[in-house]
Amino acid sequence: MTSPKLSLGERILANVHYILIVAVFVLFVGSWELSLYLLSIPEYLIPTPRQTVVALVRGFMRGVYWWNTWVTLIESVLGFLIGSGAGLALGTLLAQFRILERVFYPYLVAFQTLPKIALAPLLILWFGFGMSSKVAIAAMVAFFPVLVNMFVGLQSADRDQVDLVRSLSGTRWQIFVKIQFPSSLPFLFAGLDVALVFSILGAIVGEFIGATHGLGALIMQLNLTLDIAGVFSVLVILAVMGVGAHVAMQAIQRRVTFWAKTETFTSL
């Protein structure tokens, strides 16, 4: 893109929302600190921003946070990869074979409406207290948004585009590779975006229920010892993790589906 040169003032004006984002953050932290002071809320209920930062730095210095963050990150990412991979594969199969869609659709709807997270205790029972049970939970919650979006995305392919390939004696495989799969990408990414955030959620919930490592387990321990500043500092890590995952996914999406209209494909 070649854009005409902008003066410094114009550039600042064009990017003013970034400044405002920072300003809102500062305002938030400021009013947090101030309201604690004004309402005299005790620090064993809500810590001040400063105490949170101190707990965060101390946690990382002692190495506890590094290890636990790493564990949760691995669980989430593995779960995400397994769950979305399975969702992608099954969504594709359902979209390609009418009979599979008809047979499995009612079950999928039934399973979709079930709060998957309620199965977490069972998965702990089956897979144990280690990382594998968290990976399983993360995979389970990541699976559905990808499945549904992949299915819908493949079906969204333009009929005329499909006819175009058919009119050239194109095979089903060619229709899939050249038309349906590319058409599905904006939907797929909407699903992946949700799945990534869900998989972090799944890992944390799993760690709440039964784990010795991970940020979820850490929150439980800190909560029990009434180290509320510690809990808050872990929440900060989780927030950064979630935002990081989302931003990374968006960056990939923009590169892959640059051609798509900018309408937002909300996850179904």
Binding site: L164, P182, W259
Partner: protein, 256 residues
Amino acid sequence: MAFIKIAELGKAYQTIGREPIEAIADISLEISEGEFITIVGPSGCGKSTLLKILGGLLRKSRGEVLVRGEPVDGPRRDIGMVFQNSVLLPWRTVFKNVMLPVEVLGLEPRQYITRARELLEMVGLSEFHDKYPRELSGGMQQRVSIARALIHDPSVLLMDEPFGALDAMTREHMNLELQRIWTESRKTILFITHSIPEAVFLGDRVVVLSERPAQVVEILEVKLPRPRDLDMLATEAFGGYAHRVRVRFRIKRGWE
């Protein structure tokens, strides 16, 4: 022997639990090689169905469709299709869109690179090689799709209201362009439209279809000299042809 022969063609769509819908009642038509045939008819009369049967995308219910004496019972390699919307793939550049048929037909891409360039030049878009479809106007997009339909050098071009979505000025311009492309490439063209002036301007013969289920109402030979230009639109001869087509339309609709 006719290059394309359509004899007593009929098409009914089967619907679940209801009577089948008759789209085409009876169409018979013989087309010689290199001819420019325009087909006019009221909206929803089954024009597109006819084209899809010729392109092998739909099965006929009755009758016969032959190209070079061979029955059409599926897609053929020597047919190029142009749809009402340009149907460009938004994730491909203009050049890659034009090359799509080469890939699908399993031809050797290297042998078609030059041809793709030439075709883009012919439709006046050589500067737009690496642009994406959304960066092009509607008229330009449709020109890309014409280049794409010609890349594998088909002998027949099936065009389904290709300029229907364009504004009047662009449309006239595209009609001139298409006439030039036809003169240069000598394809047999079947061109569907619901614009009477467009049909008369482009066609060697104008086939007027009835409302659904489609039947041939009249086949009108247009003996206007070629190349035709826009000034011809104002002549008495042109008006006479357009009037005759219009009259056939009205009779069929029972307005007179």
